[in-house]
Amino acid sequence: MKRLAGMVLLVLAFGGMLLAEKAIPLTGAGATFPYPIYSKWFDEFHKKNGNVEVNYQSLGSGAGIRQVTEGTVDFGASDGPMNDDQLKAYQAKHGFPILHFPTVLGADVPTYNIPGVSAELNFTPDALAGIFLGHISKWNDPAIANVNKGVNLPANDIVVVHRSDGSGTTYIWTDYLSKVSSDWKDKVGKGTSVNWPVGLGGKGNENVAGLIKQTPNSIGYVELIYAIQTKMPYGKVKNAAGDFIKADLASVSAAAAGAIKTMPDDFRVSITNAPGKTVYPISSFTWLLVPSKFSDAGKRDALKTFIQWMLADGQNYAESLAYAKLPQEVIAKEVKALSKIQ
């Protein structure tokens, strides 16, 4: 028995060492918003470049920013771009700047689980702000019912679900709400982690979707693909032009169209509540956070190769997962910016 145990231990130890092949392991952490497309990309990229393994942990944009600043991961990911203070902190800690690279376009959708209601609900900006502020507490409130005539909304209490972790998805949502509701802007504001007036907290897009799925009468905000993959209904939102728009490839791309001309060099831009008739108002880019200097040339080249692949072939996977492709102009700009990574 002892000998057997010893042998098992030896085998395991060797196994651990044998797996130390010449692979280039890259570790990244951050946003759960693009996790479905990222995990697909890293899988496909690994199939083409067998020695590059990108281990991406979807811990939330807040964690992505933190860990890449700490240097415990090789790259980060966030749907809320790093603000100036965070950029300064990174520069101060490492001595070189960190770069943002947009990867895809996505959307935050209001998804809900109302027993008996499978229709697509319309939401006005005021209704969304009111629900998440806790002012609107029942599903049959006039603010919701008036724009959803024909739907039998029950008189049940609304259960709000939001993120408990630092989230770019939250950043997009609160950025939008801050633009459309001065009440929200004063009371809560925008950020990856805010002081929510009401609701339950879930960790990651995954847990929010999971919670909504399990909890009747709930509403929350998730990235589009999570609502689609879990077959949950999601609502249309009234955009700045006054139309109720559903999030899809066209409406999200339309939101980005206006920003192309004014895209700053560091790619940090907000496209929520963009003007335009067909625009979905809660759209956003999502970014990879890449250090501009790598001490390990192997890792640097692997990551650069990945980004090049992502901007070319990778974009073709986006639409099947309901993410909109980057506009061509942005891609061209990014390819040029790749040279900044040394």
Partner: protein, 329 residues
Amino acid sequence: MSTTSTNLPSAGPVTASRSFVSRLREGDEIARLLTFLCAASVVLITVLLVFELWRQSALPRHKFGFSFFLTRVWDPIAEQFGALPFIYGTLVTAAVALLLAVPLGIGAAIFLAELAPLRLSDPLQFLIDLLAAVPSVIYGFLGFFIVVPLMREWIEPALKKSLGFLPLFQGPAYGIGFLTAGIVLAIMVIPYIISVSREVLLSVPRDQREAALALGSTRWESTWKVVVPFARTGIMGSIFLALARALGETMAVTMVIGNTPTISASLFSSGYSIAAVIANEFTEATGDLYLQSLIELGLVLFLLTFILNGLARLMMLLTTRRGTGMGNA
């Protein structure tokens, strides 16, 4: 027992004081040193643990001082951190857990110690010990998929209907919240209460029971009025142990408590506990003040469990010393 070291000389002449080198050669001194190093490293590690917790929580301690424990606000953007919601949540869930686990646990312990024949009692205790071995994440998993819907569909509405006049049972029934977390914790700490209480009860001398029975008490009366009070301190110890465990639980709680820093009189409300907030926000705490505030919370938790564990040990020590003594302490 092992304080006198008997170094018997193996072959050579007996000398009054054996030189260090010869003892070294004998291997005893090396052994002593090696094992001492290991034992000392345990102390070192523990000291280092407390030191790191203290050192890495310096920022919030200096900035907020004592008001850290009285502030309700947890706002990472405004960099305002207050521990009150987490302390509240930790204490409330622990209280609910104990309220449920203590009667059940002591009851079961009484059954196992007094009524069940040893042939039944030992295997049952074995099964209950297995319950203590179930990992926290599995309790959380089961809690999320079984207890939460149960609470949401049946138990919370029923409580609302019958006891809804109490602020404890008001508000929407999410299924997730303080009450559910408390129930899951109760299931997790029952085995500790049972196993320790059972041992303590078993160690109560027979003559106590027999004296009570001889005086005409019923079985229950002898148990409840004589045996249990005799074992009172040990049972209290088990409760402290259970409490310490409940306070430190992370995974099971974070999966069913709702993860919102709320203070509410209602048990149906969602909340947060110290361990849960650390688990959720540690990897993403941007900014040193944020991270160190979380570490300060960890320090608070550590101190709480340290005090409780110490009290528990003290109580058990008092019980075993009293084991053959007379009457009440």
